[in-house]
């Protein structure tokens, strides 16, 4: 009973590393279209999804994030030519690193959301939030690192 209640009240901390050209613009569009978005996503703007390195992702989890969303332009549409392909490869490796850390790889998501996909942005964020809510809090004790 107690457990159940705790789960319901769990407000996940999610970090979104969004590409300036596509997904950040999609977030702007979702905003100007007044769509409803989960408040748990904290957006950090990067110029390209390829800027997000292993270090940043891992320290974000160590820092206590319950989930991380990396989002950029669709394959072939990268503002910097091929950056998102690199992001995709790094993502694949990160997933396996998370397993060795005993962190559910589902806590990390990479999505392609173009500037015109405001609705998709909202769907991705809201679905991801629901998934993280089900997974519960990040088991890493952040105090161990600080």
């Amino acid at each position: 009973m107690e457990d159940q209640k705790q789960k319901e009240e769990f407000f996940p901390k999610i970090v979104g590393y969004l590409c300036n050209w596509c997904t950040y613009a999609a977030a702007d569009l979702a905003g100007s279209s007044k769509m409803e978005l989960s408040p748990s996503l904290n957006v950090i703007r990067v110029m390209c999804s390829s800027r997000v390195d292993y270090n940043l992702v891992l320290t974000t989890f160590f820092g206590g994030a319950d989930g991380i969303l990396i989002a950029g332009c669709h394959p072939g549409d990268c503002h910097y030519d091929k950056g998102n392909y690199y992001a995709r490869r790094r993502y694949a490796l990160l997933k396996s690193i998370l397993e060795t850390l005993k962190l559910d790889p589902e806590r990390l998501q990479l999505s392609w959301i173009s500037a015109s996909e405001g609705k998709r942005y909202v769907d991705v964020v809201n679905e991801f939030t629901e998934r993280i809510k089900k997974l519960g809090p990040n088991p890493i004790n952040r105090n161990a690192y600080y």
Partner: protein, 562 residues
């Protein structure tokens, strides 16, 4: 020096004020303990982007002697540059300013006011933290060369040259063959919608040759290009003896290398020999132009001619868009020259995109040209084997067969792409930076594409692109005006660099080179676009994305999820 951060929360009229409790934001931010050794000035304002708002902000920066500035308002995509310009009017370096988006990320998407307010507070705290880790950056100004190099003297390259020369820009136009004009010099007529006459091509060639601002190099190709937008240094290979011509400079480069036709002999469904009466559309155009008539190798007039569309379309995976109109043009010319004979056109689909194409098609049909719709068609010497739309297979023969092969990238396209470091798309044509936002630019700043080099198209579209590119160049490269290269670039921390050169591999712009003497990589700041890919690839943490450093992103993130 004691730090003093100004935090200004914009009401955005009712947009933010009604959906976020700004008073609470101000109260919480002003009393944050983690910033206690820093002086905070926290205020609200009704419309910061207005002229009054900007004047208010300027006065705040100056009268409070702010060391850092945070504006919590709309998306930085809307007004970051507005507020950076305000900073530029003061002593505050614009890179010590940070914009927090509490409108699109809070006010507009979180209906619960309390939750929107909490998120705004978290975002502003994160923004303040990020700002503290930002450093001053200085924008540099570079001289820019307003001259332009155009590679390829077809209709697209010539049109761009003429437009630029009209504005007194010096243009260097290089052409691989011995004459200007590209494929268009082989046409005795243009399309009906283009008024049939091909005189315009000759007139363009003469205009280019007579223009004092255009220097034409025929039988010339590019040897090398180094540099960046505003400052390219060019070496040409000129003439049959391939003499090298150095010392050329240009601020922008236009790729206008056009197309070639696919070789139908390479396809299994088109089997014929040299001696057969089988021609490509381009060969027939030449025959009509040079001989003024259409005849078989024996010199006799053909009694029946078959024209076949879409040769190689499936293999290429795209429609060449102009061959349908071209075939209709050729069929009409044939009918005019040989009104008695049978002319049969075997088509799969008709691509007639221009507003008067349909009408021309109806006219040509009425003039007696037969159009047969097929599922697929192949040839065996001069007999046409095809499958009707109802699935029935048929075989017919003609005295002469004319094939319309797909358009392909010109010879040497791959080598040129490598030399210029620009990308090719999946179809092998030069890839535009963005299909609808930036359709004539390439991935490299200052290098543009026009005409069939970008993809199959007709003369009108090639001319339109050439005019678009000229507009871009005239607008971006103004004589006497300096260019300000991106400052948010990457830098190598030499002490950390192990010389592995991983970063060289991942940079899509060739912005990184290796210093053999020092054994470290170096970023050319004028070429770097600041994507940060190299940072994420560096195994030693030696690459730093200025203004998107790891500490900046990390501190912002930690504060946001505190």
């Amino acid at each position: 020096m004691r730090l003093k951060i100004g935090v200004y929360v914009c009401e955005c009229g009712p947009n933010i004020a009604e959906r976020v409790d700004i008073d609470r934001v101000i109260k919480v931010i002003s009393s944050l303990e983690e910033f206690e050794d820093i002086e905070l000035v926290v205020k609200r304002y009704k419309l910061l982007c207005s002229n009054d708002g900007q004047a208010f902000l300027k006065n705040e920066i100056e009268s409070n002697a702010l060391t850092h500035l945070v504006v919590a308002a709309c998306s930085p995509r809307d007004h970051e540059s507005t507020f950076m310009n305000v900073c530029k009017k003061t002593n505050l370096n614009p890179y010590l300013f940070n914009m927090v988006n509490i409108r699109e990320h809070c006010a507009w998407v979180i209906p619960d006011k309390a939750k929107a307010t909490e998120k705004a507070i978290r975002s502003i705290r994160a923004g303040i933290r990020r700002t503290l880790h930002q450093s001053e950056l200085l924008e540099r100004e570079l001289d820019a060369n307003p001259d332009v190099l155009i590679v390829g003297g077809g209709i697209a390259g010539m049109e761009a040259a003429l437009m630029l020369a009209d504005e007194k820009r010096k243009v260097c136009l290089i052409e691989k063959t011995e004459r200007l004009g590209g494929k268009s010099i082989f046409y005795s007529q243009l399309l009906s919608r283009q008024g049939n006459s091909a005189k315009m091509i000759q007139q363009k060639i003469e205009a280019v040759q007579q223009n004092a601002h255009i220097q034409v190099f025929t039988e010339t190709e590019l040897e090398s290009v180094v540099g960046f937008f505003g400052n390219f240094e060019i070496v040409l290979k000129v003439g049959k003896e391939t003499e090298l011509q150095t010392g050329l400079k240009a601020g922008a480069i236009v790729i206008a290398t056009g197309f070639r036709l696919l070789n139908p002999n390479k396809l299994p469904q088109t089997v014929y020999q040299k001696e057969d009466e089988v021609y490509t559309t381009l060969e027939v155009e030449s025959m009509i132009l040079n001989e003024g008539k259409i005849s078989l190798k024996s010199g006799k007039s053909p009694q029946s001619i078959a024209l076949v569309h879409c040769v190689g379309r499936d293999e290429k995976g795209y429609c060449s868009t102009i061959c349908c109109s071209t075939i209709i043009k050729i069929a009409r010319m044939l009918k005019a020259k040989l009104p008695q004979i049978s002319i049969r056109v075997y088509y799969r689909d008709l691509c007639l995109p221009h507003k008067t194409d349909q009408q021309t098609y109806e006219e040509v049909k009425a003039e007696g040209v037969d159009f047969i719709r097929v599922k697929e068609a192949g040839i065996q010497n001069t007999s046409i084997e095809y499958t009707q739309i109802d699935g029935v297979k048929k075989k017919e023969s003609a005295d002469m067969v004319i094939l319309a092969p797909a358009m392909e990238p010109a010879d040497g396209t791959e080598a040129l792409a490598e030399l210029l470091n620009v990308s090719l798309g999946e179809t092998g044509f030069f890839q535009e930076a963005h299909h609808h936002l930036n359709p004539v630019a390439t991935s490299i700043e200052g290098i543009y594409i026009v005409g069939a080099a970008q993809g199959p198209k007709g003369i009108s579209e090639s001319v339109a692109q050439a005019q678009a590119v000229s507009g871009k160049i005239l607008n971006r490269l103004i004589p006497g005006e300096k260019i300000v290269p991106e400052v948010k670039v990457c830098k190598v921390l030499e002490d950390f660099c192990t010389g592995c050169q991983t970063c060289l591999e991942v940079c899509c712009y060739g912005a990184i080179s290796f210093n053999e003497v020092k054994g470290v990589s170096v970023v050319n700041e004028a070429v770097c676009r600041g994507c940060g890919n190299c940072v994420a690839s560096c195994p030693s943490g030696a690459m730093r994305a200025i203004h998107f450093t790891t500490p900046q992103l990390y501190r912002e993130m930690i504060e946001a999820i505190r």
